[in-house]
């Protein structure tokens, strides 16, 4: 048994490394921790709940996965008041109405054919079924993801923004990958979609939902990883500047700020420094461009006295 284990072990590790290198090709740099989560969610068929501060690439992770697997990405943005009709399916009322108008004559014929009231009702009943068929069903993201023939990547973004009720409603879909429509029946997907849920932790997610998911926490990247990300996204950047810039941003994150600068903001900053054709970071320059990294005036005020120090440190 121990031998078996070693062989399966090697392959698991290889698969994880494979995922990691594939992501790198897409321009998404991640550590083994994230790659392991993707591997497990795939092999266990479980959704992943991704949490972490804003701007660390939670949504990007889903996009990269979709691209790597060459499956369509279906995205559902959550907000307060999101309900079944917008997330799952809706009847095309307008179309149904239009059809009944257009088919008025046809209906008249059918009704006139039957001699008794009872048989005409029976006849009309048949129509009822036609009107509540899949032809008149407007699939929304969740239904689309379940119905897709070759599987898909479903991204339920910012689940913490939705209501408790919506969270409860997701439970059926996430554990069984099926949807019940009263007029039609239960629709079950042929291929399980790969599901990502992201959350910024503005609200604690319910235990029931958490239980059905694997939980991945993405923190801010360490300097090494962040440098790698920068060189992948902004390849034209000067090697020396990159090191300085990353160390500076990492220093900023240790300050007591309202909103810490995220990876995406580091990338933006790197791009603008490249545009300005800058080779080394200087305090004045940092002050002038700080509004790219920090989005609150109070944060800029707090970090201002520290800038000289941080630049000094980053040059080492």
């Amino acid at each position: 048994m121990s031998n078996n284990k070693t062989s399966s072990d090697v392959s698991a590790k290889d698969l994880i490394e494979n995922i990691q290198s594939n992501f790198e090709k897409q321009g998404y740099i991640c550590n083994t921790h994230i790659a392991t989560a993707i591997f497990l969610s795939q092999s266990l068929g479980k959704p992943i709940l991704v949490e972490g501060p804003p701007g660390v690439g939670k949504t990007e992770l889903a996009k990269a996965t979709a691209e790597w697997m060459e499956k369509p990405l279906i995205r559902l943005q959550c907000y307060e008041g999101l309900d079944e009709a917008k997330a799952l399916y809706e009847w095309k009322y307008g179309k149904q109405l239009l059809y009944t108008q257009v088919l008025k004559d046809k209906l008249n014929q059918i009704v006139s054919k039957s001699d008794s009231l009872e048989s005409s009702i029976d006849n009309l009943n048949n129509f009822d079924d036609i009107f509540f068929s899949e032809k008149f069903l407007e699939p929304r993201p969740l239904l689309k993801a379940i119905e897709s023939e070759n599987g898909s990547v479903l991204l339920i973004d910012e689940i913490d923004k939705s209501d408790d009720e919506f969270e409860a409603f997701l439970l059926e879909i996430l554990s069984d990958y099926q949807v019940s429509i009263p007029e039609i029946g239960t629709i079950k997907g042929k291929v399980k979609p790969i599901v990502f849920l992201t959350s910024n932790n503005t609200r604690e997610i319910g235990d029931a939902l958490k239980r059905r998911c694997l939980h991945l926490y993405i923190p801010f990247p360490d300097p090494f990883l962040e440098e790698k990300i920068i060189s992948s996204r902004v390849p034209e950047i000067d090697e020396n500047l990159k090191k300085q810039l990353v160390s500076f941003v990492q220093g900023l994150r240790s300050l007591d700020l309202k909103k810490l600068p995220s990876v995406s903001e580091t990338i933006d900053w790197a791009r603008s420094l490249v545009l300005l054709n800058i080779k080394t970071l200087e305090p004045d320059l940092a002050r002038e461009t700080l509004n790219i990294l920090l989005k609150f005036q109070t944060d800029i005020d707090v970090s201002d006295p520290e800038i000289d120090n941080l630049i000094e440190q980053s040059k080492k």
Binding site: K5, A12, A37, L44
Partner: protein
């Protein structure tokens, strides 16, 4: 494998980490996919299915490191998988035969640490070590496990040696016995550290939430503010749901007709009126003089932990004069704010009359029929004028007044207590002396105000 996971999950649970059955099944699946050889990979993978918040991940990481330090020191050790596999049973068989029991001496002399650990783990299982609760039980369990491993035979051998006059052998055997005892004791102490790190805390928390707050010791503040956070979280989840439900109003006919014009006036979609929720305003006036300071401190913490469902809270603290402390609690860490409140407004002899006058001055026209006024104090006014007339005007302007008194009802009105003169102006007056009481009072208040 099942054994080791079950054990590990048991330890996680005892460290205040909730692991459901379905999550442990997930963990099993994870392990079967990943295998046991790579420790850091295993740790990563298990954390996905067992720990689901940042705090839980920290606990998990600590437990994992401790657990694998102790029990399964080296994954690459070839002998080790024996513990995990079905061969387990085989080992058990050996144990039952005399073979194992007799050879305690040989076990010690010939085998390496791993097999000694294995033998100990097995004996520990038979001795129900997982039930250990307190460190005082270490001695008892050492004895039990020693017995399971065959102490009796060893003792007999020692006895035999001494009777035969073989002093050297006797010494040697005694040495072995002593060393083994130390090994077992170490093992158990580690297990206790692993398993009971939280049960003690649990007991302490229970006791603290029942204890009279006036008796609370400074060293307990940290735990207590933790308890308050838990209680507040519970109340928020109970009451926020109810609030949302009560926000939907009646059918709005006019908007419904307008919304359905595109369907030739056939009513498909419904539009609902929104009821205006009157957010309750809460004004709290807390006595922060020596005797009641502790209760006030925790009550203020409690109120300000509820901002999610009580957005309009204004708090005042007084001993001889009242001062507003709302800003302190909103902008600072709750523990620091509590300490500063006591520093700014505490001390001095209590004067309820002055406090009421000050409060009225602060509020002026900001008090209306939606406002609930909560007064917390022992109503001991040092024989000063209690100014019931001011309390009366406050009562007339506000929705209601709640009076929370940490003293038991039997002493209300004794000595300089003006409680009995305040009671007529309050819609409710309650004894409130422990965290548990606090929770009940706040829950009650929320129920009737939202």
């Amino acid at each position: 494998m099942v054994d080791f996971l079950r054990d590990f999950i048991h330890i996680l649970r005892s460290s205040d980490l909730r692991v459901s059955t379905s999550e442990s099944i997930d963990a099993m699946n994870v392990v079967s996919k990943i295998g046991l050889n790579d420790r850091s990979l295993l740790k990563d993978s298990l954390s996905f299915s067992l720990a689901k918040t940042l705090r839980e991940k920290e606990i998990f990481s600590e437990c994992f490191d401790n657990f694998f330090e102790e029990n399964y020191m080296n994954f690459n050790d070839e002998k080790l998988p024996k513990i995990f596999d079905d061969k387990n049973i085989k080992l058990g068989d050996i144990k039952d035969s005399d073979n194992f029991q007799n050879n305690l001496e040989e076990l010690y002399k010939n085998s390496d640490k791993t097999s000694l650990m294995t033998a100990m783990a097995l004996a520990a299982r038979d001795a129900n070590l997982q039930d250990i609760k307190l460190f005082t039980q270490v001695g008892m369990f050492t004895r039990k496990i020693f017995d399971e491993m065959g102490l009796e035979t060893l003792n007999n051998d020692i006895f035999q040696a001494s009777r035969d006059g073989k002093t050297q052998r006797e010494e040697e055997l005694k040495n072995i016995r002593e060393n083994l005892r130390i090994e077992i004791r170490d093992y158990i102490e580690n297990q206790v550290k692993l398993r009971t790190s939280n049960t003690g805390k649990q007991l302490r928390e229970d006791a603290l939430s029942q204890m009279r707050l006036t008796q609370a010791d400074k060293s307990d503040y940290k735990i207590m503010s933790g308890i308050i956070k838990k209680m507040a979280k519970k109340l928020i989840s109970v009451h926020s749901r109810r609030k949302r439900k009560s926000q939907r109003g009646l059918l709005d006919i006019r908007s419904t007709i307008r919304a359905n014009q595109e369907y030739e006036g056939i009513l498909f979609e419904t539009v609902w009126k929104k009821t205006k929720v009157d957010r309750p305003k809460i004004v709290a006036l807390c006595d922060v003089s020596g005797s009641v300071a502790n209760v006030s401190r925790f009550f203020l913490m409690f109120l300000h932990s509820l901002t999610e469902i009580l957005p309009n809270v204004r708090t005042f603290a007084f001993s001889n004069k009242a001062g507003e402390v709302t800003d302190l609690f909103e902008n600072k860490d709750i523990n620091i704010a509590a300490a500063e409140t006591l520093l700014l407004n505490g001390g001095g002899s209590t004067d309820y009359g002055q406090a009421f006058v000050d409060l009225e001055g602060y509020l002026e026209n900001n008090i209306d029929r939606k406002t609930t006024v909560i007064i917390l104090g022992d109503a001991r006014s040092n024989y000063g004028d209690p100014r019931c007339d001011v309390l009366k005007t406050i009562q007339e302007k506000s929705k209601r007044i709640l009076f929370l008194n940490p003293e038991p009802k039997s002493v209300w009105g004794t000595g300089d207590s003006e409680m009995l003169r305040f009671v007529p102006y309050c819609s409710k007056s309650k004894v409130c002396s422990s965290l548990f009481d606090l929770e009940r009072v706040v829950d009650d208040m929320l129920r009737s105000s939202i």
